[in-house]
């Protein structure tokens, strides 16, 4: 029997699996001093996996495998490219941090690549079983990564909080999925989508609600966000960058897949839930970020709020002619958010190597002794706030465009809430810039030039170029969004 394996379509996954095995074994054979080379294998593997993604994209078309459980289409390829680039940049910003701290290097890269493997599977999953397996493959390695500093109680606390929330959300999601299976008689999203509109059972509302709550925990939407600031603060900073960008995007891809390819024809069951999550995340996330003094906690609340902005297109997706516009909006927003947030974390890590502090006050006077770093940080902050000419404005633009295409009263109210919370957000992002440019260096602080490791500089450079280039020439990412939505 020929199971119909399409090795071209599976090539990115195969390359990453080979890389995981190579990195795992390389760690045994290298002398202690040569361990840094494992990171080179890891980064090389991630870049190599880009090649089949590009050739598949050039090839075009949709490849269906395993009875429809795995589908490689333009949407999957766009998101695979995003996850590979995001992981590549995370690896670059991890190298010096992990090397300095003398942490277990080989295992760190193996776990990060395993999580990446889960994300690549997630982009192609079109069946509840494969979505669940992919989601757990993303999550389980990150539980361990969050507790990477074994003897630090804060890191322990980050790990157990993240772990407990992770398993509880999986259990809720699974309970919801088991009810969906019972009501529709299938785990395939394509079959669920044909039956879901004709089911007139109140149980369907419970089933969809529980499934969505599971995902809401994963993407840290308010009121399921309380774990995020503690986990982000306690985990090693490169892991925090990874959680707030790649892992969060994994949750959003799962949500996008299950809403668009599964529950789309029963909008009454999911739209009100997502509306509430979006509104609460935007308002509470931004208000809580205002009073943070630690930059990592501030970025944690900022990422909760950005998650709220990302949920806005979902909440209006089935209204009017907004389906395609909101699908594109989610993808474009994710791509831009990834670049600007990873860039901000790269600057935070560079400075933390020197100041050993994550307080916003320690950024005082940065503009006078490290002008380039301050300039980049300001660019990322204003981009997150959505100020032109940085890429963030385009992300906000596509989000508001989906709201306008929907045009219903509920969508308009959500648009107003989004606009108000964007204004609130501007204050705390601008506060970091004010600290860097308008405050003088604190007494006793070291004001010699900041040491810039090459990997971190390169990571910051790539993020900075993307943020500026997309801000000036948004067609570049608009094209990707259009490609992902199927032309």
């Amino acid at each position: 029997m020929n199971p119909g394996w399409d090795f071209h379509a599976l090539a990115p996954l195969i390359v990453i699996v080979i890389t995981i095995v190579v990195v795992l074994f390389a760690d045994f054979f290298f002398e202690y001093r040569g361990r840094f080379r494992t990171s080179q294998f890891a980064t090389f593997g991630v870049l190599a996996a880009m090649v089949p993604v590009v050739t598949l994209a050039v090839d075009g078309g949709t490849r269906v495998m395993f009875g429809g459980a795995i589908v490689v289409d333009p949407y999957a390829l766009t998101m695979q490219g995003f996850f590979l680039v995001a992981t590549y940049i995370t690896l670059l910003i991890s190298v010096d941090y992990i090397g300095d701290g003398d942490y277990y290097q080989g295992e760190f890269y193996v776990l990060m690549l395993t999580s990446l493997l889960g994300m690549l599977v997630m982009t192609t999953a079109r069946d509840m079983i494969s979505i669940f397996v992919a989601l757990e493959t993303i999550s389980i390695p990150t539980f361990v990564l969050a507790g990477w500093r074994k003897h630090d109680r804060k890191s322990n606390e980050a790990s157990i909080k993240y772990y407990l929330i992770g398993v509880i959300s999986s259990a809720l999601m699974l309970y919801g999925m088991s009810l969906v299976f019972g009501l529709t008689g299938s785990t395939l999203l394509s079959e669920i989508s044909t039956k879901v509109a004709s089911i007139d059972e109140p149980l369907l509302i419970v089933a969809v609600f529980l499934t969505l709550v599971g995902f809401a925990f994963k993407v840290s939407a308010v009121p399921f966000h309380f774990w995020a600031p503690d986990t982000y603060e306690g985990a090693p900073t490169p892991v925090t960058a990874y959680l707030s960008v790649a892992s969060k995007a994994g949750g959003f891809v799962a949500l996008l897949t299950i809403v668009y390819f599964g529950f789309f024809d029963a909008p009454d069951t999911w739209q009100p839930v997502i509306w509430v999550l979006a509104a609460a995340s935007m308002l509470l996330g931004n208000l809580a970020a205002l009073r943070q003094t630690n930059i990592v906690r501030m970025l944690a609340y900022s990422s909760i709020a950005q998650g709220g902005f990302l949920l806005v297109p979902f909440a209006v997706a089935a209204d009017g002619g907004a389906a395609k516009a909101s699908f594109e909006a989610v993808i474009i927003y994710l791509l831009i958010y990834g670049a600007m947030n990873l860039g901000a974390f790269a600057v935070v890590i560079t400075l933390a190597r020197r100041t050993k502090s994550a307080e916003i006050e320690s950024y005082a006077g940065l503009g006078s002794y490290a002008p380039w770093l301050a300039l980049l940080m300001s660019a990322f902050m204003f981009s997150l706030a959505g100020v032109p000419p940085f890429a963030g404005w385009f992300a906000k633009f596509v989000m508001f465009r989906s709201v306008l295409e929907a045009g219903t009263p509920a969508a308009t109210v959500l648009g107003v809430i989004a606009a108000v919370s964007s204004v609130i957000a501007f204050f705390y992002y601008a506060r970091v810039a004010r600290e860097m440019w308008f405050h003088s260096v604190r007494e006793g602080a070291d004001a010699s030039p900041v040491q810039m490791p090459i990997a971190l500089t390169f990571a910051m450079g790539v993020c900075g170029v993307i943020v500026l280039a997309v801000g000036v020439y948004p067609q570049a990412f608009a094209f990707l969004g259009d490609f992902a939505a199927g032309g």
Partner: protein, 99 residues
């Protein structure tokens, strides 16, 4: 077959699990409560699968069992790590961060 009894059993088991996760302070007991929640899902899946004569639910249950084992393995490792650092399985003692 009578589907409702299995669903009620699963719902009760799931609620006991949720209660355990929220009320227990001992890390090991929290993990056991999580297991109850996941096994409630398995009962649901297998009951529906038998009722609908559709095997994919049983396949789903097999995946849930496998992954639950991996999850609990990682969870026990984390609880053990915390026990080494603070000499107690009491999760409420981990409260260094808030706000």
């Amino acid at each position: 077959m009578i589907l409702a009894q299995f669903l009620v059993l699963a719902a009760v088991l799931f609620c006991i699990g949720v209660y355990g996760v929220l009320a227990r302070r001992n890390g090991v007991l929290v993990l056991m409560s999580v297991e109850l929640m996941l096994n409630a899902v398995n009962i649901n899946l297998i009951a529906f699968s038998a009722y609908l004569r559709e095997t994919s639910g049983q396949v789903f249950a097999l995946f849930v069992i496998t992954i639950a084992a991996a999850e609990v393995g990682v969870g026990l490792a984390i609880v053990l790590l915390i026990y080494r650092n603070i000499s107690s399985p009491d999760l409420d003692q981990l409260d260094q961060m808030s706000g």
